[in-house]
Assembly symmetry: C3
Homo-oligomer: 322 residues x 3
Amino acid sequence: MRITGTFLDEISFDIPHQNWGREEWDCDFRAMKAMGIRRVILIRAAAGNFMTFPSKTIGSRGTFHRPPEDLVEMFLDLAEKYEMEFFAPTWHSQPGNCIDWSKAQYREEIAVNRELLDELQERYGRRRAFKGWYLTHEVCSNQPGTVELFRELGSHAKKISGGKPTLISPYFAGVKAAAATLDVNAPVLTPEAHAAHWNEIFKAISGAVDIVAFQDGHVGYAELETYLAVTRNLADRYGILCWSNIESFDRDMPWRFPPIKWEKFLWKLESAEAAGITEGITFEFSHFMSPHSMYPSAARLYDQYCRWCALPARSRMFRDDF
Amino acid sequence: MRITGTFLDEISFDIPHQNWGREEWDCDFRAMKAMGIRRVILIRAAAGNFMTFPSKTIGSRGTFHRPPEDLVEMFLDLAEKYEMEFFAPTWHSQPGNCIDWSKAQYREEIAVNRELLDELQERYGRRRAFKGWYLTHEVCSNQPGTVELFRELGSHAKKISGGKPTLISPYFAGVKAAAATLDVNAPVLTPEAHAAHWNEIFKAISGAVDIVAFQDGHVGYAELETYLAVTRNLADRYGILCWSNIESFDRDMPWRFPPIKWEKFLWKLESAEAAGITEGITFEFSHFMSPHSMYPSAARLYDQYCRWCALPARSRMFRDDF
Amino acid sequence: MRITGTFLDEISFDIPHQNWGREEWDCDFRAMKAMGIRRVILIRAAAGNFMTFPSKTIGSRGTFHRPPEDLVEMFLDLAEKYEMEFFAPTWHSQPGNCIDWSKAQYREEIAVNRELLDELQERYGRRRAFKGWYLTHEVCSNQPGTVELFRELGSHAKKISGGKPTLISPYFAGVKAAAATLDVNAPVLTPEAHAAHWNEIFKAISGAVDIVAFQDGHVGYAELETYLAVTRNLADRYGILCWSNIESFDRDMPWRFPPIKWEKFLWKLESAEAAGITEGITFEFSHFMSPHSMYPSAARLYDQYCRWCALPARSRMFRDDF
């Protein structure tokens, strides 16, 4: 069980920005590579008034700043320099992190994003590192529109790109979901109820979505393995590859969010392994696991993980010259 | 459009302290100078039980700790060493950040602060770097007492100091004001309503207040230019110099406050420039833009800004020795 | 008045983890030693699903992860290397930081912790650095069960260990207690009411508890000396040694928690001294006062404290190479 991929959350809505330029990102990709990361996933094409690239599709739907740097191009350049795979994102056109899954709204989400997928393919489709698609929407259960959204966007993305793989990263409707979504009424699904919802979803999106990597932070540590095993079995049944999104930030602390405690991260790695999952991605390296993070404890998490993998990589020596 | 000044928030009520001594402040003033800052503005004379200097005026009005270092003297020393201008503050004698603008209260604010202005003039008036006054109270509209407070304190400050310029830094009653003031009922003023309020205020305080620099963080990015242009036009009409207080902290994040995303800061610089404003101050350098900040992303903001200005200044090299 | 001890909060519920290994902890113990710390107090044996050592007592009462490192053993090793005293903790078996002091619950707390004390004594009792016990429960007043809990656990700990000293660290039911306990109805006790409660408690636990060190962060700065003096006088009366737990984190900031402002820390040192207290411990060094903390302002607090003590110790030079 290894972390082989990370999200790129440079275009963020709730994670502070690190204000890196190309030079700093180059350093960070080198650190990723040294830790075994070979896949980077841009989490969303835009957030608020900010875009990752000067997109006609997005720019025509509100007031957006022209990005001082085309992040898609920059990340593709670095992915090629370090021989990594880049996954291109879609966009959450509704404000906030959740949308009202009314017919009209998910229809609009699909229409906007079909156009965005075409624009991304046209601008960047020929780049060597462009290896897959990430469908940005985060869901936890079979609400109206869920399967339509992923089936239509996944199929379209594959069709226009010669079948490049598509990835989604849902979350478990677990005991921490209410806090995470700031919705006190968020229902909790038992592993059985979770399985019922996702059996329907996987059945319907099979063929359009190739890989699923559930966020692993919304359930208790002791029950994570059960949720992951149930999910992995269902994914196998429908021919969907199952990874785990092993979150590297800590959901149990009074502020959102510091890097996670190593032992929690280790427990989640062990739970994924016990559930028969062999590959992990993380949200996300640069803030929460990087030697360059604005949070120094992220550099220590990097060291702990590298020790556990018996990798020589090591963040700069611990300061002891006082 | 350049940042030529910064607040000094060492005496803070909601920003964590960095625990710097004179040696660390000296380093930080050197970094300010290298970025083009030539003006420092002490934000308030006291906060809670803590004073920036051993003030008779303030000390007689509650229980205060005797400051281990006279910060006014220290900042004047450093301003002289680095050839900067120092603006001396007034004091918010009421608890919290907002006061009930009832007649009695603003009368008391005026009385206390006239005495404080005299004390500051007597203690520090002859210092070479002492170049102006900052009237600490933060307002957004024409409430009872607003014009009396600024007119009386501004006139008094100028009279006793041979006409040294006076500065205020109000905030826009924008969409983010409710969150900022923790007052869910804070009214939002459209640019037109804002203009109506400030036409009255500027008319009344003209001659007593020389410079206005609105905090630019309480409105949406897309509407900032409009609010700034309206304000600059009004200020011109009444002979008040209009700067912008380009906040270097991010108001959109889950915790209060990390350094701001460079692209947001850039957008605000561009908006001020488009509104015909040529000079900016920031709240504030040492926590949110400094190579020495407790928040490493502040050093990157410093680098991004210096690159944008084509300045050679650069924070220490990015760590890449892992 | 000096800081001679610190809690170890590596097993934390509300403080982010720093992800240190043995090597980093070794550096940090060296920094503690250089500052005059000669005593380390492990704050709790377990928190949530995580244990400081593979405990049969705790492990049999829920689902716990097997710790990748035995922290009790590691801290004992380092305490011996640096010639410090180690205090072993008990455990808060109820979720959260407060328990319902109903008879049943405190009886259960006592039963579990008698067993835990025996296990700790058996595993580590012969270690040279094992010099005392810390009774983990935090209380502020004479609720049902308070005296029984401390009297029974303190007596048992001393009995099985040849009379090793026992320490408690209660908190004042002051103006900041409601915010700290997240209980808006937390009653505030005046110094007189506080004295009435603690006269009863000290009378009852005298002989079972040897040392009391109140957390000093729940009252206003101006009233701290009074609360401390009242407490110290009562402790003297009942033959209990009185220290102060001088918190090194700041309770007045919008996020929980940054390192404290040096002047606040200084005021609390002065208040303890004025109350006739000569020894202090802090919660806690490694996050809030250490040159190695994830919060760079902690390194500055370390420097300020060392300057105040005229100690040569100094965190690494301030970065000025921008």
